[in-house]
C-alpha cells in the first residue's frame, strides 16, 4: 500500500511537471510604439539614465522612458539606420546607409540638432543590398561597422560614391549589364564586405574582409569581436565569426579591396581551395532551417544573473523564427568555436528578432524588422521569472567527445538518449550547401559527473570540419522536469590536440585544369553515359548527395564559364533524345547546350528539383552526326545543377 501510494504521488508529480513551458521562466511583453510609426527596428540601446533609444526604418530615432511609457522623437531623416549606441544622455551614434553619424542634442531641448558625420569613408553604389550595420565600440572608443555586399538582384545606380572596381569592367558596362560576371553578391565600391574600424577622430581603417551580410557586429564581455553572416554564396549556412584584424572570413568578393590584390583579377575565378587555406572558419555554424535562417545581432549576457542562469553567454537574434539563439563558446587549443541551441523558442517573441539591449534591470529588450523579407515589427521586453529552466548550460569538446553541463542535476541517463549525427557544409561559390557527409555517430561511453549536472560522452568518430548535432531524448532533471531545448549543434573546427585539417570542406575534386572526355561508342539505345566519363572544366566530381546513379555526379561551382561534356561516336547520323538526370535546390540554374561546338538555341531549363537529393530528368532532341559528337553543358551566369548522367535514345 505504501509503495502504491508513493508511485501514485510520483505519477502526479510527473504529470504536473511534464509540460513546463518557456513561459514559466521568461515573460514576453509587447511594448506599444507611437501610432503611425513603421516599427521596424534598426537599433536599440540604453542611455546611462535608463531611457531606451531606438532607431526605425524610416529614419526616426525615438527615446522611450520605461517609467512613464512615453516616447519622444530625438532625431529623424536618417537613411535606413541599422544600429545605435549611446555616448551619453545627449549623444547617440548611429550607423545609417551612407555614414556613421553622431547625433547630439547641444541645446538640451530633447532633440538632436547636430548631425556630425564621423565617417563616410566607404563606397556606395546605391545597390539596395548595401546595408550598413553596427556600430559597436572597443574599450579605446573605436567604432566598428559592417558593410554589406551588393546583390546581383539589382544593378548599381548611375552615380555612385567612391571608386568603382570590378574585374576590368567599366562602370558604364557594368551599369548596363551587371550580371556579366558580377557573381551573386559583389563588391564594386570600397570596402563592401568588410568590417571597418573608425577611430574617435573619424580615421577609418579597413579591419577585416570576407563578409557577405554582416548584420551583427558586437563585442562580448571578454572583449572578443563577433560578427554574424548569412547563408548564401560562399556561405554553406549562416555563421558566427570571432573576428580579428586582418583575417579573411570567407566571401572573396571583398578581397579586391585588399592591398595585395592584383588589379583586374576576378575573385570568382580563383579556386575555393586557395581561399580555404586563407580563410578563418566560423566559430559557430547555425544549421540552415533547423537552427536559423538569418542570424542578426550578437549580444552577450551582461546582467550578472538578472536574466537567468546564462550570464556571460552569447545571444543571437534570428529573423525567420520566433526564437533567439544561445551560443556556448568553447576555447579549444587557442581557437574559438562552440555550440548553438534555441532559446525562448516559441515563447511569444515576434519573428524578425533583429536588435537587442539589456535594460539596467536585467530585462532584455528586443526589436523586430523585416525590410520586406521574412520577419516582423515592434518592440518586446523579456524578463526572467526567477525560476531556472532545465537547460544545457555548457558543451565542451574533450579528447574523446563532449562534456555537457545542465542547469539542474540529471536523472539517470544512458548513451542511447544522446543521438549524435555529424555533417559538413561545403565551402564553394554556390548559394548555400546541403548537409553533406551526414551520418549518425555512436556514443561509445557515458559518464555522469559527481555533481550530477555533467555528462561526459565519448564518440565513435571525432574529426575537425564537422557540425556535431545532438538530439537529446527524454533527458530530464532529477525531479523529472524535461529538458526545455533538446537540440544543440557544436561546430568542431579544431580538436583538443590542435588538429584543424578539413580538406573535405572545399571542392577538392574541382577541376581547374580541363579533364578530357572519354570517347564512347554508341552501341545501343537507350545508352547511359555516367558523369564520371564526361570531360569537364570547373565542375567537381562528387558523391555527397544520395540518389545518384553510377559512380557519382558532376557539381557545377562558378557562376559561369564551366562545362561538362560527353564524347560519343555513332555509326550513322540521326535524331536522338538527350536526357540529363540532375538535382538542384534553391533556384533554377539553366545551362547552355552545345552540340559539336554549336549552341542549340534556348538555354536548357534545369529548374529547382526541391532538394539536392531529388533527381529529375530533362530531355531535349538533337540531331547527331555520323562519327564523333561532343555534347557539352556550359554555365553562363547561374552556375549549374548537379548532373548525374546523360541518356541517349535514338528516335
Amino acid at each position: 500500500m505504501k509503495r502504491a501510494l508513493l508511485s501514485f504521488a510520483l505519477l502526479l508529480a510527473g504529470t504536473a511537471l511534464s509540460a513546463p513551458s518557456i513561459h514559466d521562466y521568461y515573460k514576453v511583453e509587447t511594448i506599444a510604439v507611437p501610432k503611425g510609426l513603421d516599427a521596424q527596428i534598426g537599433g536599440l540601446t540604453f542611455l546611462p539614465d535608463g531611457r531606451l533609444a531606438a532607431c526605425f526604418h524610416r529614419g526616426e530615432v525615438y527615446l522611450y522612458q520605461p517609467k512613464t511609457k512615453e516616447w519622444t522623437l530625438f532625431a529623424d531623416g536618417l537613411h535606413e539606420p541599422l544600429g545605435i549606441m549611446a555616448e551619453d544622455n545627449q549623444t547617440l551614434v548611429v550607423m545609417q546607409r551612407p555614414e556613421l553619424t553622431r547625433l547630439k542634442d547641444t541645446d538640451q531641448d530633447g532633440e538632436a540638432d547636430h548631425y556630425q558625420t564621423l565617417s563616410d569613408q566607404f563606397g556606395m553604389t546605391g545597390n539596395y543590398h548595401e546595408f550598413a550595420f553596427g556600430p559597436t565600440r572597443d574599450q579605446k572608443g573605436n567604432y566598428y561597422v559592417g558593410l554589406n555586399l551588393a546583390s546581383s538582384g539589382a544593378s548599381i545606380r548611375p552615380e555612385i560614391r567612391g571608386e568603382f572596381r570590378h574585374y576590368g569592367i567599366t562602370r558604364e558596362q557594368f551599369y548596363l549589364n551587371h550580371r556579366a560576371g558580377a557573381g551573386r553578391m559583389y563588391s564594386a565600391a570600397p570596402f563592401r564586405g568588410w568590417i571597418l574600424k573608425i577611430a574617435p577622430d573619424g580615421k577609418t581603417t579597413p579591419f577585416a574582409p570576407g563578409f557577405r551580410s554582416p548584420n551583427g557586429v558586437n563585442f562580448d564581455n571578454a572583449g572578443r569581436l563577433w560578427v554574424t553572416d548569412n547563408q548564401g554564396d560562399w556561405l554553406g549556412t549562416s555563421k558566427l565569426f570571432h573576428v580579428k584584424e586582418g583575417n579573411f572570413y570567407g566571401h572573396p568578393a571583398s578581397l579586391v579591396w585588399t592591398r595585395q590584390w592584383e588589379v583586374g583579377r576576378n575573385p570568382l575565378k580563383v579556386s575555393p581551395t586557395e581561399y580555404d587555406t586563407q580563410r578563418t572558419r566560423a566559430a559557430v555554424l547555425f544549421p540552415q532551417g533547423s537552427m536559423a535562417n538569418s542570424p542578426t545581432q550578437m549580444l552577450s549576457d551582461t546582467t550578472g544573473g538578472k536574466f537567468g542562469p546564462f550570464a556571460g553567454q552569447l545571444l543571437v537574434g534570428e529573423m525567420n523564427r520566433s526564437r533567439i539563439l544561445r551560443v556556448l563558446v568553447d576555447e579549444v587549443s587557442g581557437q574559438t568555436q562552440g555550440a548553438c541551441l534555441p532559446f525562448i523558442d516559441n515563447g511569444g517573441l515576434h519573428r524578425g528578432m533583429h536588435r537587442f539591449a539589456f535594460a539596467p534591470d536585467g530585462s532584455l529588450w528586443v526589436g523586430a524588422t523585416h525590410l520586406s523579407w521574412a520577419g516582423g515589427t515592434g518592440l518586446q521586453r523579456v524578463t526572467w521569472t526567477g525560476k531556472t529552466p532545465m537547460e544545457i548550460s555548457g558543451m565542451k569538446l574533450t579528447e574523446r567527445g563532449f562534456d555537457l553541463t545542465f542547469t539542474h542535476p540529471l536523472s539517470q541517463v544512458e548513451a542511447a538518449q544522446f543521438e549524435f549525427q555529424r555533417y559538413f557544409y561545403k565551402y564553394h561559390q554556390s548559394y548555400g550547401s546541403p548537409q553533406l557527409g551526414k551520418e549518425p555517430i555512436a556514443v561509445t561511453a557515458l559518464e555522469t559527473g559527481k555533481n550530477e549536472r555533467t555528462v561526459s560522452l565519448a564518440l565513435d568518430k571525432l574529426n575537425p570540419g564537422y557540425v556535431y548535432q545532438l538530439n537529446l531524448k527524454n533527458v530530464t532533471a532529477k525531479d523529472q522536469t524535461p529538458l526545455l531545448n533538446t537540440f544543440i549543434c557544436y561546430t568542431l573546427n579544431t580538436l583538443t590536440n590542435g588538429d584543424d585539417k578539413a580538406p573535405h570542406l572545399t571542392t577538392s575534386g574541382s577541376s581547374i585544369q580541363p579533364i578530357k572526355a572519354q570517347s564512347v561508342e554508341l552501341t545501343k539505345s537507350p545508352q547511359i553515359l555516367d558523369a564520371v566519363i564526361a570531360g569537364r572544366k570547373g565542375p567537381a566530381f562528387e558523391r555527397h548527395n544520395s540518389g545518384y546513379t553510377g559512380k557519382g555526379y558532376a557539381d557545377f561551382n562558378a557562376g559561369s564559364g564551366e562545362y561538362l561534356e560527353w564524347l560519343v561516336t555513332t555509326k550513322e547520323a540521326g535524331k536522338c533524345h538527350l536526357t540529363f538526370r540532375y538535382a538542384v535546390a534553391g533556384g533554377n540554374r539553366p545551362l547552355h547546350l552545345k552540340l559539336n561546338g554549336k549552341l542549340i538555341q534556348k538555354p536548357l531549363p534545369f529548374n529547382d528539383t526541391g532538394s539536392w537529393t531529388t533527381w529529375k530528368d530533362l530531355s531535349v532532341e538533337a540531331a547527331l552526326r555520323k562519327g564523333e559528337n561532343l555534347i557539352r553543358l556550359e554555365s553562363y551566369g547561374a552556375s549549374g545543377p548537379n548532373v548525374d548522367r546523360l541518356t541517349l535514345e535514338r528516335r
Binding site: 529614419g59 546607409r97 540638432d113 563616410d120
Partner: protein
C-alpha cells in the same frame, strides 16, 4: 418603404434648388485643401475661396480637359494681374487674391456631365495647384484619380508616413534620382524643395510643389528611388560650385546642424570649413543658398550656374575676395518654362 423613398427624393430636389455653399482654401506648397468635390448639373454654387497662404493665388474653373490650355494662355499675363482671363474654356474665375484675402465666387454648374478642372493660373502654379469638380460623374478612388494632383494621390495612398505630424522643414536622407546614393531631400516652407548631395557636398537640384513620395524606398528593402512631386526649376551644372586656389580639391562631408529645423550643411575643401544653409524665397518662387567660409584667406571662384550672385561673372564664374567669400549668397529663381 415607398413613402420614405419619395421623401428622400423630394429632399434631394430641394437641396439642388438652393445654392451649394462650400469653402475652398489654398494650402502652402501649391495645393488646394480639397483636391476634388461634386455638384449636380445646373446647380448654383456659392464658393468661398480663401487664401491663407503667404503668396498670391487665383481660382479658375475650366471646361473638361482644358486646364493646361487655359494655363498656357495665361503665361503671357504679368503675375498678380487682376485682368480677367479671356479664354473660351473658362467657366468661372476669381481675381488674384493676396495672402489672407478671401472672396465669394458664384456660378451655376453646366448642364453637361463631366469632370471640370479648377486651377490657380499664376505662373508655375498651374502644373501642380489644381483639382476636379465632378458634375454628375462617379468619383474613382482618390489614390487612382488622375484628375487630381499626384501629391493628393500620394497622400491618399500613404495616409501617415510618421508618428509625428508632418511639418516643413522636413528632410530625408534617401535614394534620389539624379544624385549620388548619399542624397538628402529637404522640404522648405512655401512649397520649395531641394536635393543636396552629401556624396558630392553640393546642391543638385530644386523643385516647387509637393515634396517627395518616399514609399518606393521605404516600402521594401531600398531598391527604389524617392519620387519627386512637383516641378523642377533648377539643376546644378556638372562643376563643383566653389574653388579655392589651384590645388586639386579634396572635399569631405562633415554633417549638418539644424537651425530651427533647417539643415546647415558642413563640409571641408582641403580642410577649409564651408557651411551652406538654404532658405526659400518669401514668395515661394525660388531659394537662396547662404554660404559661410569663416576662415578663408584666398580668393574664391564661384560657379553659380544660372543663379544670382552679388559679383561680376566672367565665363559664368565670379571671383570673390576673401572678405566677401566669408559670407555670400546665391539665389536660384523659379522661372516658368514652357
Amino acid at each position: 418603404m415607398r413613402p420614405l423613398a419619395l421623401a428622400l427624393f423630394t429632399f434631394a430636389i430641394s437641396i439642388s434648388a438652393a445654392p451649394l455653399k462650400l469653402t475652398l482654401s489654398t494650402v502652402p506648397g501649391l495645393q488646394f485643401d480639397k483636391p476634388r468635390f461634386t455638384a449636380e448639373p445646373g446647380q448654383a454654387i456659392e464658393l468661398t475661396f480663401k487664401n491663407p497662404d503667404d503668396m498670391a493665388h487665383n481660382l479658375v474653373f475650366t471646361r473638361p480637359g482644358q486646364r493646361m490650355a487655359v494655363v498656357q494662355a495665361t503665361l503671357a499675363l504679368p503675375p498678380d494681374s487682376n485682368r480677367p482671363i479671356e479664354h473660351q474654356a473658362v467657366l468661372a474665375q476669381t481675381r488674384t487674391l493676396k495672402p489672407n484675402e478671401s472672396i465669394v465666387l458664384k456660378f451655376t454648374t453646366p448642364k453637361a456631365r463631366g469632370i471640370y478642372p479648377y486651377v490657380c493660373t499664376l505662373p508655375g502654379h498651374g502644373l501642380l495647384m489644381y483639382g476636379a469638380l465632378y458634375i454628375g460623374e462617379p468619383m474613382p478612388d482618390l489614390a487612382k484619380d488622375t484628375h487630381v494632383p499626384p501629391l493628393a494621390r500620394a497622400k491618399s495612398a500613404n495616409a501617415s508616413l510618421h508618428a509625428w505630424p508632418h511639418r516643413r522643414p522636413l528632410m530625408y536622407r534617401i535614394f534620389m534620382p539624379d544624385a549620388s546614393p548619399a542624397a538628402i531631400a529637404v522640404a522648405l516652407p512655401h512649397g520649395v524643395s531641394y536635393c543636396w548631395d552629401a556624396g558630392q557636398c553640393r546642391l543638385r537640384y530644386a523643385w516647387i510643389g509637393g515634396f517627395v513620395d518616399p514609399m518606393p524606398v521605404w516600402r521594401g528593402n531600398g531598391n527604389g528611388l524617392a519620387k519627386i512631386i512637383g516641378d523642377p526649376f533648377w539643376v546644378a551644372p556638372k562643376v563643383f560650385p566653389l574653388k579655392v586656389g589651384r590645388a586639386l580639391q579634396k572635399i569631405e562631408f562633415k554633417g549638418y546642424r539644424k537651425i530651427k529645423g533647417h539643415p546647415e550643411f558642413h563640409y571641408t575643401i582641403n580642410g577649409l570649413d564651408v557651411y551652406e544653409h538654404i532658405t526659400a524665397l518669401p514668395n515661394g518662387m525660388g531659394l537662396t543658398r547662404h554660404f559661410r567660409i569663416p576662415k578663408i584667406t584666398a580668393p574664391l571662384s564661384v560657379t553659380p550656374g544660372h543663379g544670382e550672385i552679388d559679383a561680376a561673372l566672367t565665363n559664368g564664374v565670379a571671383v570673390l575676395p576673401p572678405a566677401k567669400a566669408k559670407a555670400f549668397t546665391i539665389t536660384h529663381h523659379h522661372r516658368h518654362q514652357k
